[in-house]
Amino acid sequence: MKYYDKLIFELSKEGRKGYSLPVNRFPAAPELPLQLRRAASPRLPEVSEPEVVRHYNNLSQMNFGVDTGFYPLGSCTMKYNPKINEEVAALPGFAGLHPLMPAHLTQGACKVYEQMNKALSEITGMHTFTFDPCAGAHGELTGLMLMRTYHMNRGDQGRTKVIVPDSAHGTNPASAAVCGLEVVEVKSLENGRIDVEALKSLLDQSVAGIMMTNPNTLGLFETQILEIAQLVHGVGGLLYYDGANMNPMLGVVRPGDMGFDIMHLNLHKTFSTPHGGGGPGSGPVGMTEEVAKGLPQIKVSGFHGNFGVILRAYAYILSIGRQHLREVGQYSVLSANYIKECLKDVYKLPIADVCKHEFVFDGLVNDGAHDDIPGATTLDVAKRLLDYGYHAPTIYFPLLFHQALMIEPTETESKETIDAFIAVMRLIAQEAAQDPMLLHNAPHNAPISRPDETAAARNPILKY
């Protein structure tokens, strides 16, 4: 990666043109009245087309994607993004569809939604899906809205709380708060699972439901899930499944069969659509027939959700098909456990159980702390990995472990890639033991070194 420091505004020169528009053949319309007009032209860049192309090409060279190298971000499922998906999503018959066109004009699009609904319902054991949510967190919010609607339609105004494990992803309690629900945390046991006894003491008629994922954010299967489902249903509550961790379940276990009533999927995780640097994603929400009755009362996005993303996911499902679904799940679990076993002597493994698609280390066994020199932290390990051409795993999540390092390889990485990663992780552990300053000052080989984030937050410069 090469450091390239320009911003598009710095390439601008008055009189340059980068656009191509037809000659205006219409008679001139009356001008807008002066008081409705903007006082001065917006200061947009004036750049030629080749300069724009070069600028954004150069920016892209300072970026790291799944196509660049291994991206073991726990909880993000950075699997390969198939290119056939891009090809079919760009077909003109889809690209040119206006969202307000009536159904008889959009039969192809309607069929895609219908087929996707069938496929996702079958994969998850749900009755039906809505495709309106544009991201996982958006799906969570929609799912909680459905949960509240279910209770309101039953005439029960008292269901004001939702139970969330203390290991939950931040979007879970945030979604609950946006949805007007009070968050009640249930603690995890030493073995990383929900404390079912503690859960029992929290369950009463004020609980709308529980919001959780399985496997949980530590990559561990909640073995008591059937009991949890029975307990929550027993007080009239519903179970919500955060589908971010669906990958290892593909072809093996279905949330519907575990007792979940509502769930979301992240198409940009489990179903291979690209992350795009932070979106677009898609978070379709699945539900039981009973919960689906509340769907007409809820509208969470302007049109039909992220159709372009849904198209890509559909192509992926057709490629994997019935035959390979289980392999996706199984191989993701295989690779995660393999890495765990190969590194547990040099990284602290707080919970040694068989994991699913991801697992958590709690920092280094030997962090090299000596004299006045502090030991290498998880942050330092992450930054040193960048020097070796890897994207770091997820760091400092879940909050249960202070030096959390969450690794999720996914099923699309070869054993050679995984072995090379293991070797580098071992090397970094050795470096930390001998010379932690090397890690403190990492990365050394990236376009920039560690930026001053404190200054960025104290004196924000948020535009050019």
Binding site: Y396, E453, T454, A456, A457, R458
Partner: protein
């Protein structure tokens, strides 16, 4: 070793209180500012807002964390340290010299529930 000043009252959530007449001057302890790291923003209430003992009245923010400020006493906010809007790092520099809010107390007996310097020192157990 975190600095602890005699003569101040302390809460279990690491706020300090200096009493002047019926007004409680509230800040955070040296231990608290160390735990936070570089403070990037102090979220403060407005003059005239009511506060309740044990309830949050604002927050300290750093790059990677946000920590609620819990009011040690109930009453009305009569002053807010607006200098902290531009220089939140002042709390890192000297946690005791930079108060956050001043509260006209409605129930001064709440002060009795707070810790003295020795008890606070025992609490943070360094």
């Amino acid at each position: 070793m975190s600095k602890i000043i005699e003569g101040l009252k302390y809460s279990e959530s690491h706020e300090w209180v200096k009493v002047e007449g019926n007004v409680a001057i509230v800040g955070v302890s040296d231990f608290a500012q160390k735990e936070m790291g570089d403070i990037t923003y102090v979220d403060m209430p407005e003059e005239g807002d009511d506060v309740l003992a044990g309830e949050e009245f604002g927050a300290l923010e750093s790059v990677k964390a946000a920590s609620d400020l819990i009011s040690p006493v109930s009453g009305t906010v009569v002053a807010v340290n607006s200098a902290l809007e531009d220089t939140p790092e002042a709390i890192n520099e000297d946690a005791y010299a930079n108060w956050i809010i001043k509260v006209e107390m409605s129930q001064p007996e709440e002060l009795d529930a707070l810790l003295d310097a020795a008890a606070y020192k025992a609490l943070i157990k360094e």
